[in-house]
């Protein structure tokens, strides 16, 4: 798999270098970056994770984790990670993957009703903060049904942005009916938190990528910028701060790798993802703060690239559950188990299900 992974990383890096520059990112809050998306689509990333039998490239979650991380590194203002994962999940459930962007809304139970024969689903109500909601199809769960809401047209869109400036509109549906092509029974082993777990995994991977970048920029800046006749990197106060950032990025990357290595439908996947989201979220806070401190005023300017990744770190740590939500879930499970937490940490499979 690894040569294939290298090729994917190579191709994706090239596309991002060419199409995801400062201007593209700055403009993306109000215009969908067509050229960037088309370039990513051209190298077939939207279907990368889908099985070859279903028309995909057959990459595995570990490969795709690396690509999502890369997209975070470049602060890509498109839901490419969301699309790769959502298309795969949809195809696993038997749906036909789509070429355009797909995003994940974990739960739409409150706005969905299914007809008794299970042939159609009606949407009536508002989904809040849907990533690129005006451009993307939406993979969502209502009860025991997985639903793919097609992109475009059928909802009233009220534009909102997260603090990175990425579109997170509220979509309101007025009695929109979807036929059976757009619904699938929830596959064996999935439950109401499955989509949220994948959403959290995607954001964790993006955060690790964004932290790679923030740290690299800070180290580079510390070596280049001179004050008092020497590079900032010579000052011990700067070294000590950057060492903490290095530790935080390393711990986040390790937590991400742990989640990517967990078998995707195993019972302990949820715990691995919870750990990843908690650790990457914590690390994001610390790494963004340190990167800014080391940069001084230039890091606070709009023109300098650091803000593209740090604003996304601040946004992504909240999406698909902030640290507190996942901590609560882990903690509740541990409290309900009544055993030693050590037994829980060293367990696997069903015994580590949250």
């Amino acid at each position: 798999m690894s040569e294939f992974k290298d090729i994917l990383i190579d191709q994706t890096t090239r596309v991002l270098k060419d199409y995801c520059n400062h201007e593209v990112i700055e403009a993306a809050d109000n215009t969908w970056p067509d050229a960037l998306w088309d370039a990513l689509a051209k190298i077939e990333l939207p279907l990368a994770l889908v099985d070859p039998d279903a028309g995909g490239a057959g990459a595995d979650l570990d490969d795709v984790g690396a690509l999502i991380r890369l997209s975070g590194n470049f602060a890509a203002p498109v839901p490419i990670g969301d699309t790769m994962v959502a298309n795969w999940l949809w195809s696993v459930a038997g749906g036909a993957p789509v070429a355009g962007p797909v995003v994940i809304v974990p739960d739409s139970g409150s706005i969905c009703t299914h007809d008794s024969a299970g042939r159609s689903t009606t949407l009536d109500g508002t989904l809040c903060g849907v990533p690129w909601g005006q451009n993307a199809s939406i993979l969502t769960v209502a009860g025991n049904t997985l639903i793919l809401i097609p992109a475009g047209g059928d909802a009233a869109c009220e534009q909102q942005h997260n603090i990175a400036g990425d579109p997170r509109p509220d979509l309101t549906f007025f009695n929109v009916t979807l036929d059976a092509d757009h619904t699938r029974p929830l596959p064996e082993g999935w439950d109401s938190s499955t989509l949220e777990e994948y959403g959290a995994l995607i954001r964790s991977a993006q955060m690790v990528g964004a932290m790679d970048r923030a740290l690299a920029l800070a180290v580079e800046h510390a070596n280049m910028r001179n004050q008092f006749g020497r590079p900032l990197a010579k000052f011990q106060a700067i070294q000590q701060q950057l060492a903490v950032a290095v530790e935080q990025v390393a711990s986040a990357a390790a937590a991400l790798d742990g989640a990517l290595a967990a078998t995707s439908n195993s019972a302990d996947f949820g715990f691995a993802v919870a750990v990843a989201k908690v650790i990457t979220g914590r690390a994001a806070t610390s790494v963004a703060a340190i990167a800014h401190q080391v940069h001084g005023a230039i890091g606070f300017s709009r023109e300098y690239d650091l803000q593209h990744v740090t604003r996304r770190l601040w946004a992504w740590r909240e999406e698909y559950g902030a640290e507190l939500l996942w901590q609560r879930r882990i903690g509740k499970r541990v409290l309900a188990g009544k055993g030693r937490i050590w037994d829980f940490i060293t367990a696997s499979g069903e015994d580590q299900k949250i």
């Binding site: 932290m211 790679d212 740290l215 690299a216 180290v219 510390a222 070596n223 990197a233 010579k234 011990q236 700067i238 070294q239 000590q240 950057l242 060492a243 903490v244 290095v246 530790e247 990025v249 390393a250 711990s251 990357a253 390790a254 937590a255 790798d257 742990g258 990517l260 290595a261 715990f271 919870a274 750990v275 908690v278 650790i279 640290e323 507190l324 996942w326 901590q327 609560r328 879930r329 882990i330 903690g331 509740k332 541990v334 409290l335 030693r340 937490i341 050590w342 829980f344 940490i345 060293t346």
Partner: protein, 379 residues
């Protein structure tokens, strides 16, 4: 250049689960027999009876060859044994240094005479101390002044070591001494010697710590004789040997489990509400993350790599974590620390009083962070 250090995810091989069951059963028996009650920071608790039982059960010298009393198990199997013991708050202090670093060093660099000590270490009957720090040489270890002078058949050691944990209990101490005059390279001219703590010319004086316990000591050597076969490695190799063992010393579960007994007791005492759940979930996530990183380093060591920077990262993150445990617990439950006795109040007192040492022993926080900074190209 990327400044991101990777810790590949490793899952422990299935046979380690068998080892885990064995060690859990062993610990239960020891508790039932009254050999110990769980305590935090348990690798600083001396209990020879427990160590002898560990030896008899095959939990010491686990990775060493059979002919020196070892058990030819993998490093990951050993890892599971020590993490279970530490998580259970078992008093591993007597054999800790001998099993973790002195023994492996003797195995690799010792003479046959020195190797004759290994079966006793593996039996849990022979204990070692570390003789590095001196009154004027702490973080700056190259400032060591203890002097080794060549004499007929061996060396004569003169000087003072300080903060030497369990020198009053141990049989031997491995001393880092200057065996050749200082040159422009301050790290040259050091040699490590195995010194018999009961032999003439060695005086051990207690230093009581702030918790009121006698763990460390001052050790004075006055023309103490060491025969050639108790030199570790070749003369002049001292610095390389000392730094070579640091990856083993710095990345283990001892670096984040020092307050684990308190964590378990606090979870048991916590209310079943959202706030407690959030705090406990945070502790569990960090612990799981540190453990994963530490296991990753163990498997790099097993593969013969030398993950120096990775080990330093685990140690510093681990020390921050275990130092934060008492305050995290204080934010969740109301408990007045109490000296003596048993249970949560005692454990809280123990953790509060020992926490300051977590970021000093084995390399201070600032020194570790300096190494990390250098490792990613700063300086």
């Amino acid at each position: 250049m990327s400044a991101t250090i990777t810790f590949p995810a490793v899952s422990l091989p299935p046979q380690t689960e068998e080892v885990r069951r064995d060690v859990r059963a062993f610990l239960q028996t020891c508790r039932d027999d009254g050999v110990f009650t769980p305590s935090g920071n348990s690798w600083a608790i001396f209990n020879a009876e427990f160590s002898r039982r560990c030896g008899a059960a095959g939990f010491l010298g686990m990775t060493w060859p059979n002919e020196v009393g070892g058990h030819e198990r993998s490093m990951l199997e050993r890892y599971v044994v020590i993490e279970e013991m530490l998580a259970a708050g078992a008093p591993v202090g007597a054999h800790w240094v001998a099993d973790r670093q002195s023994g492996p060093q003797i195995l690799r660099h010792g003479s046959d005479a020195a190797k004759a000590l290994l079966p006793k270490i593996a039996a849990g009957e022979c204990y070692f101390s570390i003789g590095m720090s001196e009154p004027d040489a702490g973080s700056d270890l190259a400032a060591v002044r203890t002097k080794a002078t060549r004499v007929e058949g061996g060396w004569q050691i003169t000087g003072t070591k300080i903060w030497t944990t369990f020198a009053h209990h141990s049989h031997y101490i491995i001393v880092l001494a200057r065996s050749a005059p200082q040159t422009d390279n301050r790290r040259e001219g050091f040699t490590q010697f195995i010194c018999d703590l009961s032999a003439p010319g060695v005086t051990v004086r207690p230093i009581v710590n702030l918790a009121g316990t006698h763990e460390f000591n001052e050790v004075v050597f006055d023309a103490h004789f060491v025969s050639d076969d108790f030199v570790v490695g070749a003369p002049g190799q001292g610095w390389d040997l000392v730094t070579g063992e640091l990856a083993f010393e710095r990345s283990g579960p001892d670096r984040f489990l020092s307050a684990h007994t308190l964590v378990e007791m606090a979870v048991e005492a916590a209310d079943d509400d959202d706030r407690s759940a959030e705090i406990i979930g945070g502790l569990v996530a960090r612990l799981a993350n540190l453990r994963q990183m530490s296991v990753s380093v163990a498997s790099m060591l097993e593969a013969g790599q030398s993950p120096m920077l990775e080990a330093v990262i685990v140690k510093d993150l681990g020390a921050v974590f275990e130092q934060e445990v008492p305050d995290t617990v204080r934010s969740m439950i109301d408990v007045a620390p109490q000296m003596g006795g048993e249970g949560l109040a005692r454990e809280m007192a123990h953790s509060v009083l020992h926490a300051p040492s977590f970021s000093i022993r084995g390399g201070t926080r600032e020194i570790l962070r300096g190494m990390i900074a250098r490792g990613v190209g700063l300086r």
